[in-house]
């Protein structure tokens, strides 16, 4: 009986399409609504620092005077506590994941500029 089950499973598996996807020929489609990575929109932010206060890992720093919003992606756990806290809808979660990286980059966003990437230690907050 067991031999019959094995053979049947092996035979049907031979003629079925693969269970895995052939990435990168078939591109990965992120699941809608997933907490993939954090996105910041500097034009709507009023630098109220609520996101930095709510962040459980201290990944966000906000400078109200210089109007700078700083994110350390190595510390961010994408829990979306900041997204829930933001009253100006300046923060959102992209369903796609952030690309893996071995360089510790601190992302600094200023009110007039888009992302300004600084190496660790050199970022102005």
């Amino acid at each position: 009986m067991a031999f019959g089950t094995f053979s049947l499973t092996a035979l049907t598996s031979l003629f079925k399409k693969p269970a895995t996807t052939t990435w990168p020929a078939t591109p990965y489609v992120p699941v809608a609504g997933a907490r993939g990575s954090l996105r910041f929109a500097s034009e709507t932010c009023n630098y109220c620092t609520l996101c930095a206060l709510k962040c459980p890992t201290g990944a966000i720093q906000v400078d109200r005077v210089k109007k700078a919003w700083v994110l350390d992606r190595f510390k961010c756990i994408v829990c979306a506590a900041c997204v829930d806290a933001c009253v100006k809808n300046a923060l959102a979660c992209d369903p796609d994941f952030a690309a893996p990286s071995s360089d510790h980059v601190i992302e600094v966003y200023r009110v007039t500029e888009s992302a300004d990437l600084c190496a660790h230690g050199e970022g102005e907050a």
Partner: protein, 359 residues
């Protein structure tokens, strides 16, 4: 009489996904005693609760473990809700049940796959994990998280799910259950699996109770103990029974988990059919004060949360007793008298989760 030797087992071993160390006292091929030691991945999360805001700590609590994250978050939230007297809306309670049971199914599928891999049945492992991936896709679609669900918050759940999406999910879960039934036939009916698992690592009923075992490990020894009978979340509003087996061996533990997986599917169908409307959260006001013990059923057994608040935003004490910690004494009893080649299998049947245990 043969000379006794000690064989170190772990913390790094092919059957172990996480570090647990055992000193196996051997007489020839037979284990006469096992001395466990843990402490390789202690992270001090309980201490962290004393410095974190009690609302932020919810995100940390569900990161105690990567496999049973949803129920950890729920345990913490339920404890704080009880301390602050928050009434959770009915829809949130039902959604917690749905996600909690999805968490149980994915954990049992993960374990069944690991067990299949441990007894050398690699294709069965792949088929089991293929099914698990499909379930995780639904978890991601409904909660936003794949491993860390991030679904629970103090006062309810973090997002509502449209009824249409829930109906689509149930339709696909029914198809998945049929696929699981086919896998289950191999797990429970295949001669190779039975010869490897039957009569191995027997834990008699009296010893299971005396050693304080919990969860499927205890239920496979014939003790009907399940914290879900307390009726927390919406467990008092769905029809279900505590699943037990009498044999107490490794095969009985596989059987209990297979049957529980079917039951979890059934609970989700019932919960979605009865899903009430309305809000999914009530806002917490003030700070937690007092002491509370929150008890829930993890996929691995009963987890206990002890929370002590002093009226400030930091908790005074946070303590978690996880199911694997309770099952380690039972594991030592199971290992006595077994063959060295069976140690890996027996160890896996308690479904060890060391990240939980050490926090």
């Amino acid at each position: 009489m043969a000379e006794k030797t000690i064989i170190p087992f772990g913390p790094q071993h092919p059957v172990l996904p996480e570090p647990l160390h055992l000193d196996l006292v051997m007489e020839d091929e037979t284990v006469v005693d096992a001395i466990p030691s843990i402490g390789f991945i202690h992270r001090g999360l309980e201490r962290l609760a004393e410095t974190q805001d009690f609302q932020q700590m919810g995100y940390v609590a569900e990161r105690i473990c990567g496999i049973c994250s949803c129920i950890h978050g729920q345990g913490y939230s339920q404890g704080i809700e009880a301390l602050m007297g928050i009434e959770v809306p009915a829809r949130a309670q039902f959604l917690r049940l749905v996600w909690g049971e999805e968490s149980r199914i994915q954990s049992h599928l993960l374990w069944l796959g690991l067990a299949a891999d441990a007894f050398g049945f690699e294709s069965l492992f792949m088929h089991t994990w293929k099914l698990r991936e499909r379930l995780l896709d639904w978890v991601e679609r409904t909660t936003g998280g794949r491993v860390i669900f991030g679904a629970n918050k103090i006062g309810g759940v973090r997002r509502d799910v449209a009824d249409g999406l829930l109906a689509d999910m149930v339709a696909d879960l029914r198809a998945m259950e049929a696929e699981f039934a086919a896998l289950e036939r191999t797990f429970l009916g295949d001669a190779t699996v039975r010869s490897r698992m039957e009569g191995v690592g027997v834990l008699p009923k009296a010893l299971a109770q005396a050693s304080g075992a919990v969860g499927p490990t205890l239920r496979a020894s014939g003790v009907a103990s399940d914290t879900r009978t307390l009726g927390y979340s919406a467990y008092d509003q769905v029809q279900w029974q505590v699943i037990t087996e009498d044999a107490g061996d490794c095969f009985a533990r596989i059987k209990v988990r297979c049957r529980e997986t079917h039951q979890s599917f059934d609970m989700i169908y019932q919960a979605v059919a009865k899903m009430p409307g309305g809000a999914v959260e009530s806002k917490p006001k003030g700070f937690p004060k007092g002491e509370y013990m929150s008890r829930l059923e993890q996929p691995r057994g009963e987890v206990i949360y002890y929370l002590k608040g002093n009226g400030t935003k930091h908790l005074e004490r946070f303590r978690v007793r996880t199911p694997t910690f309770a099952n380690i004494p039972a594991l030592v009893h199971m290992l006595k008298g077994c063959r060295l080649a069976d140690v890996g299998n027996i160890l896996l049947t308690i479904d060890p989760c060391i990240s939980c245990t050490e926090r």
